[in-house]
Each structure stands twice: as structure tokens, then as C-alpha cells.
Symmetry: D2
Subunit: 336 residues, 4 copies
């Protein structure tokens, strides 16, 4: 299903080349001021405007508030936000409809939905759906800032590696030189984490966060704290010594989560983004008409490295999850 | 919360040193034969009996069916299975109650539950809770075998690395020599995967699977297909070329999932298990009584490498998730 | 929360005098043809156009499909439908803002949402939100008709009593004469019910249906089969004798549901609708400004009897619930 | 499914003549003292011990706490409670297996679960499952008493009519004289209701309460406040005039709920219980073996009027629902 969350719930809808993409946010407390301008920075970050390696498709991406806002303030009822699709060139997709693009959902969507799926630009599978998620993230970040006790929870994600290079320019240049696309690694860090969010088992912070992070297109792996490297360590090395009654630990191999519950140290996790499936390089795939494999190259406007646009999406989903945890922890009441 | 699943739902309960641990399985179709003996192999695998590096605590682990079974057959109603805790030595834990063990949930549990938590042996946080999950996994695996169309879905997980070594004996010996604990990497592969399970966004196969996998104690990372290595590849390299109308791909970098949906190729993922937190080595932690950090060593019976016991748990949660997906895909009806 | 359903899920949003009201339908199978004209009849029924006793506020109520429809066909992805609010006269509500209207949610909304609620025309509480539900009902009815096995499930609701009178004209005239509003009783009947929908306890047909029916504004009671009258009967009188292997019963006091599960006889239930809260009669209420109770009369355009507009809403929610049950019963697959 | 609740969730399991019936309560705050003796009064009320018109089957009904309790106190983790079935006479049911009992779930269960259901004593459909619900109700009532602000929420239900008679003795005698069973009406009243619980639409107090109330076996109707009688009133008569800033209303036709939200006045609702399906009178039903209808009479030990045992169950589910609403309203934190 296309919704997620227990007390702070988002539902996404829309298609890349349909009328719009959008999101409904249910469970947002009343009384939060909403100003369209506050959304622009994060929406620009998602577009990767003027950034080398991002798609030339440029949408204005102005959030249109259709419900749940009154007098520029949240009402406590569902907030529905639309983004119109204007800059659409569907003919690119119609032309190559015969060939399911490798790495894309074309083939599985066709199998699952019997050809009724909107295939244009990936339809509902398109990363354009993350526009709504970023908008919900802006609201979630504002809520995190309203938590009373001087504890301004801060969520920050950044690209730490592109195409295997920590020097991002270098990694990107590799792609440009190879006329191919590249992947990357994102790291996210949450500071001023409250103690006690999450639960053992299915509502562990790792469980709930990974669920939403793997819903971001192109994510192939998620690791918390030391992550996969932990598997190579000794226990005495990996364990974080508790220093004092605040729970502060000397090291933070756990990435701020023990037993599924936040321990007040920074929450740290990383995720792997695969190289953009739409590469300018020549590829092979099945041609449905002929029933045979053939060589082709992808048309359309695409990113060389979608990882560049991912940090703001990662921040958004993290903030969304934290708000839900906080509401469940009864630390956030109606904002007055 | 302690339950998970949409149409095939599990709920875990119990504590390591309480009366029992257990599980309730809701939504299991009627008509599946149930024989206690079928559970023993997987339960033994979870215990790691006679395996170098696993805890000397040995419970009999006989599943006691309290509900939902009639005439050795599932009835369609909730199945509740208990495992009694007999071989309990709680005094070990009472002695070291003053010192929250690093890497364990002692400190966070105390903060979150105000000291009311059952701390003995980790209480509800203990990996002993996975006994019920393994039992549910046996039922889920049987259900996967009942799928009609000659397609026997097979789930198999194994340890592929211990303490940084692909030679497992060597990795384990490292821990024994160092009088410390070590972590490991598990790989899981599902063969004969049906096409079309999963959805984009929040019900993607990766989202739903990672949620339950991160609920297994000690998991620190999950990756699908090529995973983190994908971030270093070019798009033309990572994309799997579709060969023919069955959806078979030449390579399987995607690990069998594209756009959140299974493409019929093997589902492949790996997870990182941290070294057992209860290491024989000396460690530092806070002493709640004195308010100061001190050096201590853990008492109790523990594994040198919990990764050794994890494969059967990974298989269990994978089978559980696949059954839920299949029921949602309306491919599994009542078993006749 | 504003969403409901397990595999066929609706989410409502919008406000009476905001930009729009709308609905998102998640889980609708792909391949269902959608034509705007098919929605008009039910939407007209909801408006009660030209019917004595219904509000003079007339909205065009054209469904605008924003997502999930491609080539006039469902795609399997969320369907979002908007209805614009055009014929809005909010000044009526601003004027009487000081006095919470008796029978309306003005007072509780103010307490719960701290004054941030959109109070105009009842805001999110308005029965105008049922426009989206009626549209979802049209889709659900179409799905019910697609069930394969020659069994065309038919849902039909009608007013059987107004203002205590079975002669509806007479009941309505009572209200007009008294310059007051009146309530009514709706009966709903589903013919060609499949056997086996529903479950004991929380997913009983009665539980799931009553939940959604009590979400229709102004409903005060729900009863199945003989309902409250059953409490006055003997067991031998109330029990429905099973006649033959089809499950047909001689009487239908159970209203087609036994043990929470449909038995193949007609599903029958009734609900009580209170008189419209906005009556032309003079009433007393608190004046927030003065802190004292005062006499006033309601401004705005309202129905004398909302029960007249309810049958199509009752049909809609019933069809929605039945589709969800059918999907869970694996009787409906993708429509081909 | 057999679980219900958002933050305070119950899951029922077990069969009438299996090993046990039971319940798991998830989301109960830590720190609540638990004493087996506190459960006995309500469990006795459910049994209707020594009450004319209740079943001669007498179980000891001692709650056995298997999980979630430590040092006689809740831990914050799932609480699992079992009740053993000892006083079982299944041969009664085996004998009459050929004839699906009218009013019971025998026929529908057989259709839905293909004969795999545990039919003995109604199996999972039996009202014996409400034992666990009553135990959860005892815990929920204790939680309601812990709410801080001097507001001791009190839930009280009673039989107000049996067999059509307000004089309960008289109604019961009618059944005894007729050698038949009778139904009844239960009224429930909650005093000291907080303002602001519930939401419009699907989480209205009426929606959530009716869902769980219709899961109690034998309930055929639910009405709030004036209920069905409201349909015969004028609006000016039915509307409750708000008297002052506390929200107190002069009348309480709304039963304490407006727009789905509690207004601080007493929450009042009634439900209709059908006559016990197992009547001593002769009845007709299908004989599966012969394929023909025949006359028979029910064997086994049964109640003449199950309504007598229902009030404590109604109190339990009401308290359970209110605790969930309160947790969602963030009015109840961890109990210290």
C-alpha cells in the first residue's frame, strides 16, 4: 500500500507524466504555521538544480495546499499537497515502450498490472513521487523543532561517496568521461536525539527507518552505526562504553541505537544508491514485439547520479519517522 | 508494537528468564498439517547445539501448541505456540544489575520503562524471543511449499563470513584466541521466486523484508543484490539485461527486485551481524550506584558469535514475509 | 486517522469551504474502466437535487481524477479524486463563530484543535466530505459487478422512515410545518452475498461495517437483521433454520451474518440518522464571547432531513467494505 | 484478524474446548501493579456464577500470566494471559456434528474453513474467548484510574431489559416458562469522560467502539445517546444546548459524542443481545449427512440469557478503547 506511519501517516499518489504527484499527511498536530516559501529550499535540493549530473527536466515544483491548512496554519486534519506536472515529454517513453528498460520497473510493472500501468516516465515508480515526501519532510522538520525541552532535533544527510570516490567531483567526472551513470553513498546524522524512541523487534528504530528508506527508489543497502564493518570487529571493540548517567558513550559504533531504542547519542546511518538505471550507455534488453533481446540506448532526460538528489529525501523520511516515534512517545502535544 | 504483517501476522511475547517465550500467528490458512517433529530441526539450528562458539545455555525448546491446531491441522484461527524457560540462571543478572552492559539494551530499557522492565537475561530484548519466530518460520516454509504451480519456493540462508574471514573456522578461532566475540555476514537466497510480489514505495520487498530483518537482534546492516558495492558501479554494469519473456536476467545485481517488485530471478540479500555484546573481555561501563564508569566483565552464558545461529532466523522471517506477500497477491487460497 | 481498509483503503481529506474535498483509493485492482459519467448518478443522489428538504447549496460535484487513472482505466496505483468547492458562502459561518452550534462539532473541535480548526461550514466535519466516499463507492460497486462467478453482488439502500413516519412525504411535511428538521431510518440490503466473508471478533462483518457506517455524519445507531427487536424474541423464534446445503435459511433474522461471517442470505442492516443539527428553529447555546448561554438561530443553507441524502453514502461504504473483504478472501484478482 | 487497537492492542486466541483461551495485550504502559485477585470479580461477573439463566459449565477462570509481568508489575512489554479449559465435555458436540446449529457459526465456519475448524463448543467462535477480553478490561480499567487530573473515568454497564421486560426477573421467568432462551438490552455509561477523545470519520468514538462491541458474540445492534429514537425527533428537540464553557449540555441526546469526539458529558450507549442460539426448544436445521432438513434439539450446557453475562464484557471493551484513545491523545504517559 502507499501509506505509512502510525500516528503521523503519509500517503503518496500520482505519476511522473500524469496530472500531478502529491501526498497526504494525516496526524499532523494543529497550530503549525505553514508558508510556501519554507518548502522551496528542500524542493530545490531535491531537483538538484544547476547541479552537474542531474536531469535537465525542470519542474517548478510549487507545493499547492489543497486541504488541512487554514489561515496559513495546520488544522489537525489531513494535509494534501499537490505538485503539477508541466514539463512533460511523454513521447520519449511511448517510443521505447517495446523495450523494458533494464534496472527500471517496466518489466515487473507490466507483469503485475497487466499492461494497465501508466508507463510514461516510470509512472508511479518515478522518483518524482519523492517531491511529496520532501514536502512532508519540511513539515516534519518543523515539528521536530517545536519539541519543547530545548532539544532541537537536527537531521542532516549528505553524499559521502560518488562512483567509489570520496572526492565527489572526481566521482562525477568518471561518469561523464565514461558516458555512463554512477551510484553513491549517503550518510545521515541526527543530533540531539531524545533517549527512548523505538522498541525492540518490529518497531525498532532500524526497522521503521529501513522500511521507509528502502522505499526511496534506487536504495540498495542500509547500515546503522559501523554497519557492515561491525561484522569484522571484536565485541570489546564494537561495544560503546557508557560514560555517565546521560548515556553518552565514548565511541558510537551503535549509531545511537541499542536494542532498537535510541540512546541519546547521534543517530547515524548510511545507504547505498545504485547508479541511475537510465544510463546514456548502450544496453541489452528484451524487445517485447520481437520476443528477442536487442541492443538499444535510453531516450529521455535523466540524472547521471541520482545519489546527488537523495540527501534531502533521506532527511525527509527520517524526520517523518522521528515525528511518528515522538507522537507515540507522547513527547509532542498540540502546538500552542 | 510487537506484531507485524498484513494478512499473515505474527506477534511475539515473553522474556528470557520469565515463564516462557512465545508467538501467535494470525491469518494462517486452514488445513495445513502440523507435526511437532517438523519444528525440531530448525529449532536445533537456532540453538546451534554442539556448535563451537554458541552459548552453553541449552533449553529443550519443544513447541507447545496452545491454540489454532485441531487434529494436528491448522484451523484458520490464531496459532499460539509457547516455549517454556527451564534452564534459567537469573542470579547472574541480578548480580550485575548495577552496571548496564555495553551493547545491550540495559541502559535504554531502564530509561524507557523506568526500571520496571524485566532485566534478567535481557528480558524481552533477548534473542530467545526468536524461538517463536523460528517456529512461525517452519509454518511459513510449509505454506511456501504448498503453492500450487510446481514452483517450490525455497529460502536458504548461510553464514558467509565470520570475524572478517570467509573461512568460518578461522574466524571463530580468532575469537577464541582473543577471548572475545566476533560478528559475521549472512547471505539469504530465495529460489523459484514468483514474479510480481511487492509494490513500489512502502510495501517494496526491500522495505518489508528489511523491517523484519532489522528486528532480529544484532543486525546492523542489510543489502540487496550487489548492495553497497552497487554504489561503486557504472549503470551499464549494474543493470541486469533481460534475456527473454520469462524475465530472466543475464546478471542479478538487483538481487531479484526491481521497483520493489520481484522479477522472478533469485531474491538475494545479505545482512551484517555485530559481534556478541556479551564478550568475555573486560569492558568499561557506568555503575549506576556509584555514578562513575568502571571496568567489569560480563557473567552469564553467551555465544562467541551469534551470527552462527542467525541463518535459520533469517530464513524464518523471509518465509513469513513471502507468505504475507503471496496471500496479498491472492496466489494462496485455503489448502485442500 | 482519516483512512480505513486493509487491502482496499480509502483516505478522505478536505474541508467544506476550503479549496476542495477529496479521496484517495489505494489497492484498487488494475484494468477497471473509469468514465466520469458513471459517477454522476450517485453524486446527484448524494446532493438530493430538486428534492424537497435538501440544502439549496448546489455544487457541480464533477469528479476530477488526479492520479491512478491512465487511458480511462485504473492502473493499480492510488486513485486520487478531487471535488472543487465553488459555491461557498463562508461569511454565514464567520458571523456566528461566537456561538458553537448545538449538535455540531464546533465546540469539541475548538477544544481539541485549539481554535486552529477550519470552522467554516463545519470544515473537515462537514458531510461534504462524503462526496469522495460516494465516488469511491461507484468504483467499489463496479468492482463488485466484476466478480466472476455469475454472482452480481447488489447493494441497495433506501429511506424507510422519516420523522417517525413510513410515509416519507408525510414525515417531511411534519418538518416543514414545524419549521424544524427531522431524522430518519435507512435500510440497506445486499443481495447475492458470497458465503464466507468476515471473521469472528474484530473483523466480523458487523464490526467492519459498523465502523465505517458510524463514520457517516449524523448516524446514531446501527442494527443487523432483526436488530434491537431480537432482544425481545425467544431463541427458537430468532434462530434461522437452515434449509439446505446452499445455506438458505427460512427466515433471515440474522440479516445474513452468523458468527461475523456471511451465510449467503441477504445482508440486511438499518441505521438511524438524527435530525439535521442545523434547524431553522430557535435554539440555546453558549456564547464564547460573553461566556453566557443565549438564544439564537442558525444561518446558512441546510437540509431539513439529511437522511434523504444518506442512502447513496450507505451503499458506498457498504460496497467499499465488501470489496475489501473480497480481496482478502482472494475472490477478486486483477481484472482482465 | 484477531487483533485490534492502535497503541493499546489486544489479540485473542484459543478455542472453547482446546487447551486454553487467552489474550495478549500490547502497549500497556510499564509500572502498573498486577494482582491476580483484582481479576476475580470481573471474571466471576462474566461467568454469571449462581445466576439463574447462566450455563452450568463452570471453569475456574484463573488468569495465568505468561509474559509481560515482573515483580507483580507491568513491564511495558506484551502481557500474555491464559485461561485453561478444564471442564470440557466435547462429546456433546461430536454427537451433533452432523447438524449445523441454527444461530451458531457451525455452517459458515464449515464453508469458510473447509471442515478444518475446531467445531467443539463453537471453537474459536465461543463466547469463552471473552474471558481474555475481560482480563484485558481489568487492566484497562486500572489504567483509566491512573489518569492524573483528578478525573477518575468510570465505565459501568448493566442489563436494562430481558426478553422485552424491564423487570429482569420477569423476563427471565418468561424464558424458563417457555423452555426457551431470551435476549436483552445492555446500557453502558462512562462518567468523567475527558473532552476531545475521538476524531471525525473512521476514528470517531462511535466507529471505534461499535467495531469492538460488534465483535462480542450475539450483539445485533448498537446505538449512542438517544439512538434509534433520535430518528423520530425534531432537530430542536434532539440538539443538546451547551450551557457553559465546560461544555456541559442541558440534555444528553448525543450520548456524549458530537462529530465523533467526546464532549465531556457522559458517554452513553446501548446494545441489543439476541437470545442465546442454543435454546432447549426443538429446532429445524439441515443434516449434512442426509442433505435434508430435520428437527432436533441442542445438547450441551448453555445460558438461557447470555445478556446477563455481557455487561462486564461491554465494560471491558469500552475501557480498552478508551485507553487507546487516551494514549493517542497523549494524556497518559508512563506510570511512575
Amino acid at each position: 500500500m502507499n501509506s505509512l506511519g502510525r500516528l503521523f501517516r503519509i500517503s503518496v499518489f500520482g505519476e511522473s507524466h500524469g496530472e500531478c504527484v502529491g501526498i497526504t499527511i494525516d496526524g499532523c498536530p494543529a497550530g503549525l504555521s505553514i508558508d510556501q516559501n519554507e518548502f522551496l529550499l528542500d524542493l530545490e535540493r531535491r531537483k538538484g538544480v544547476n547541479q552537474k549530473g542531474t536531469t535537465p527536466r525542470k519542474e517548478e515544483d510549487l507545493p499547492i495546499f489543497k486541504a488541512g491548512i487554514f489561515n496559513h496554519t495546520t488544522t489537525g486534519f489531513p494535509i494534501t499537497i499537490l505538485f503539477e506536472n508541466k514539463n512533460v515529454r511523454s513521447e520519449d517513453y511511448t517510443k521505447q515502450r517495446d523495450i523494458p528498460r533494464p534496472g527500471h520497473a517496466d518489466w515487473v510493472a507490466h507483469q503485475k498490472f497487466g499492461g494497465y500501468e501508466d508507463y510514461r516516465g516510470g509512472g508511479h515508480f518515478s522518483a518524482r513521487l519523492t517531491t511529496g515526501i520532501v514536502a512532508a519532510g519540511v513539515i516534519a522538520k518543523k515539528l521536530l523543532n517545536k519539541i519543547s525541552d530545548n532539544q532541537k532535533i537536527n537531521v542532516q544527510a549528505s553524499v559521502i561517496e560518488i562512483g567509489g570516490e570520496a572526492d565527489l567531483e572526481k566521482g562525477l567526472q568518471k561518469a561523464i568521461d565514461a558516458k555512463d551513470s554512477v551510484g553513491g553513498i549517503i550518510e545521515c546524522r541526527v543530533t540531539n536525539m531524545p533517549v527512548g524512541l523505538g522498541e525492540p523487534y518490529f518497531d525498532s528504530i532500524e526497522s521503521v527507518l529501513s522500511k521507509i528508506i528502502f522505499s526511496i527508489p534506487a536504495v540498495r543497502g542500509v547500515e546503522f552505526g559501523t554497519g557492515f564493518a561491525a561484522a569484522k570487529m571484536f565485541g570489546s571493540e564494537h561495544n560503546d562504553a557508557i560514560e555517565n548517567e546521560t548515556g553518552k558513550t565514548t565511541t558510537n559504533h551503535a549509531g545511537g541505537v541499542v536494542g532498537g531504542i535510541s540512546n541519546g547519542n547521534d543517530l547515524v546511518f548510511r545507504l547505498a544508491i545504485k547508479p541511475t538505471s537510465s544510463t546514456p550507455a548502450q544496453q541489452k534488453s528484451l524487445n517485447w514485439s520481437s520476443g528477442r533481446q536487442e541492443t538499444f540506448s535510453i531516450k529521455g532526460r535523466h540524472d547521471l547520479c541520482v545519489a546527488l538528489r537523495a540527501p534531502v529525501i533521506v532527511e525527509a523520511v527520517t524526520a517523518i519517522v522521528l515525528v511518528d516515534f515522538l507522537l507515540q512517545s507522547q513527547q509532542l502535544k498540540r502546538i500552542l
